[in-house]
């Protein structure tokens, strides 16, 4: 059962769907983080979500929240959240933040799979380990590193687009080839920088531009 849940093929396929959601977010100038909720027994995609903080002016509209809301909106009215999500796995391109990790506990998830880490405020081991806290909903297991490079690449593209004239961005681009060995580390740091900058609703990145 566990093998089916975390089977390599389905895992990568589902993360590709989450990456596709992140691409859609990038296309509308949102932080490119995407998420899908997949039913474990048959692989059915219950819901999709992507960051929506800029459009809503609400810093809490992360991909996980969008997906959970979508799932509940379409759920059988007889089901309650924990019954629904207990049997699902959530795939998200970047480590859930402290808020989202707590939310996933309330929703009743037991399995979460994410791409890159979020060093600034990841709630699944980076800043805090909310997913394993003793109280407040169900604890969940995480699997990380699935298509992490792709997730980081998306965040880098977002960063470059948003700050095309920013001197810092140019400097980073110049330095990138020189430090080929530490590329992934740099990229990860940068990715978390990006999420840190814009998680608050994206207005910050707008103001940085202006």
């Amino acid at each position: 059962m566990a093998a089916a849940r975390f089977g390599v093929e389905s895992r990568e396929g589902n993360m590709r769907l989450a990456l596709a959601e992140a691409e859609k977010a990038l296309a509308v100038q949102e932080v490119p983080i995407g998420c899908v909720i997949v039913r474990n027994c048959d692989g059915h995609v219950v819901a999709r979500g992507r960051n929506n903080t800029v459009a809503t002016g609400d810093a809490t509209r992360h991909a996980e929240f969008e997906a959970i809301d979508a799932a509940l909106a379409h759920a059988d009215t007889g089901a309650i959240a924990s019954d629904l999500f207990d049997a699902c796995t959530l795939y998200v391109t970047c480590e859930p933040c402290v808020m989202c990790a707590a939310a996933l506990r309330y929703a009743g998830f037991r399995h979460v799979c994410f791409g890159c880490r979020n060093d600034k405020f990841g709630g699944c081991g980076s800043a805090l380990s909310v997913h394993q806290a003793p109280t407040g909903g169900t604890s969940f297991q995480v699997e990380e590193g699935v298509f992490a490079e792709e997730a980081i690449a998306l965040l880098r593209r977002f960063y470059a687009n948003e700050n095309v004239n920013a001197p810092q961005a140019r400097k980073r681009q110049r330095n990138a080839p020189a430090a080929a060995g530490s590329e992934s580390v740099d990229a990860e740091v940068e990715a978390s920088d990006v999420r840190a900058c814009v998680s608050g609703g994206g207005s910050e990145s707008q103001s940085a531009e202006g």
Binding site: V28, C97, F121, G136, R157
Partner: protein
């Protein structure tokens, strides 16, 4: 409420809240004439990060028992800056330990300078982890002229992070410069702000009571604009405590905590203002080509402010990790809550997100405002119990 004065206490970081912890060190008496030379030698030869926050020389009067053994009862003296004199119950530690006071090594080569009376000072040599005669030949040679007789003593282990710690711990051993303690941040809430916030708290309590009567968890919140008077949003819980026992149509969203709903309301306000401004100022800003394939247009910056920046969230109970992080993401300036939540609270109880080093925003937190006005139905939210309970119990008798 008669009989209760309004008050609220600031919730600081772990470092700011911790009590005095003691560290074993070696000290030695030295004559004032030698003090400067000795402190130069120590500064040059004995550099230990564990004692970097402490001054090397303690001056001032010595009692008969010696100095530096203030291991006694050292209660925190919050807010009191007039604390002076020797530490109460100061007891010398290790002063009688034969292994330390006995002539051993170069330090006892000469008798210690006469150390009675008020003419002497005490030098901090090193941590007790390394005995002074094991510091190395060079140090030993450098210290030889001082004829030191090291003995154990106890000093503050941590550098103070708050003014009250500095003021209290100073009497155990002199500390290096005062910490960058912001008196302004440390202050308790004062009038007239206190009364204004209490009025908002009562609004939040009423919202919580209403929610509790409806069967939801009794939590309420008011988000107050930077002006301190305008309530931008009032939220109450939309999560039902006893989910399973309710008909499906009445079941509420598991994530609709009061704070999350209020943050959403502020966001909608800001967006409405932003869109209004966009219509008025259309064309003021060129669309930005996304490059990623989209090319969507940006609106101008929201005129109504950036998320909840500058705002105060007044909450009936300490927010959980989700709600606290939502406030952090929203750049809240201050959170005031009535009651702590020892199980799930993330602003002082289980976590202290507002002072977490890694997170990218800090804010002030105060607890205890109107705590005595919280009724029985106004309670914690995040336990997710499915057990039925008396949802319609009178929640807030004193305010209804």
């Amino acid at each position: 409420m008669p009989g209760h004065e309004l008050c609220a206490f600031r919730v600081g970081s772990e470092e700011e809240e911790r009590e005095l912890e003691l560290l074993d060190v070696y000290v030695a008496d030295v004559s004032p004439a030698q003090a400067q030379a000795l402190s130069r030698v120590l500064a040059r030869h004995v550099r230990q990060p564990e004692i970097a926050h402490l001054k090397r020389i303690r001056s001032g009067r010595l009692d008969a028992a010696g100095v530096g053994g203030a291991s006694g009862d050292f209660r925190r003296a919050r807010g009191s800056t007039g604390h002076d004199g020797e530490a109460p119950g100061a007891t010398p530690v290790g002063a009688n330990g034969a292994s330390f006071a006995a002539p051993a090594g170069p330090f006892a080569a000469a008798p210690a300078a006469a150390c009675t009376g008020a003419q002497h000072v005490v030098a901090l040599l090193c941590t007790a982890a390394v005995p002074p005669d094991a510091l190395g030949d060079e140090v030993t040679r450098a210290l030889l002229p001082f004829a030191l007789r090291p003995r154990l003593a106890r000093v503050p282990r941590n550098a103070p992070a708050a003014r009250w710690q500095y003021d209290a711990w100073l009497h155990v051993w002199p500390l290096m410069c005062p910490p960058h303690v912001h008196a302004a941040v440390h202050r308790a809430l004062a009038e007239p702000e206190l009364s204004a916030l209490a009025a908002h708290m009562r609004t939040a309590l009423r919202a919580a009571a209403d929610a509790a009567i409806d069967g939801a968890d009794g939590v309420g919140v008011v988000i107050v604009a930077p002006d301190g008077t305008t309530a931008l949003a009032v939220g109450s819980h939309g999560t039902w405590h006893a989910c399973r026992s309710r008909p499906a149509a009445q079941r509420a969203h598991v994530l609709h905590h009061a704070v999350m709903r209020a943050v959403g309301i502020v966001g909608a306000r800001n967006v409405a203002q932003r869109d209004g401004a966009l219509v008025r100022g259309a064309g003021a800003r060129a669309p930005v080509d996304g490059g990623g394939g989209g090319g969507a247009e940006h609106g101008p910056r929201p005129i109504g402010g950036y998320l909840c920046s500058g705002c105060t969230a007044v909450v009936t109970i300490e927010p959980c990790a989700m709600c606290a992080m939502a406030l952090l993401h929203s750049r809240i300036a201050r959170v005031v809550y009535a009651r702590p939540d020892p199980e799930c609270g993330a602003l002082g109880s289980r976590y202290r997100l507002h002072t977490h080093r890694q997170l990218n925003h800090r804010f002030e937190v105060h607890r205890g405002l109107c705590a005595h006005e919280v009724g029985p139905g106004v309670a914690a939210s995040c336990r997710l119990e499915d057990a039925p309970r008396d949802a319609a119990a009178p929640a807030l008798q004193s305010l209804s």
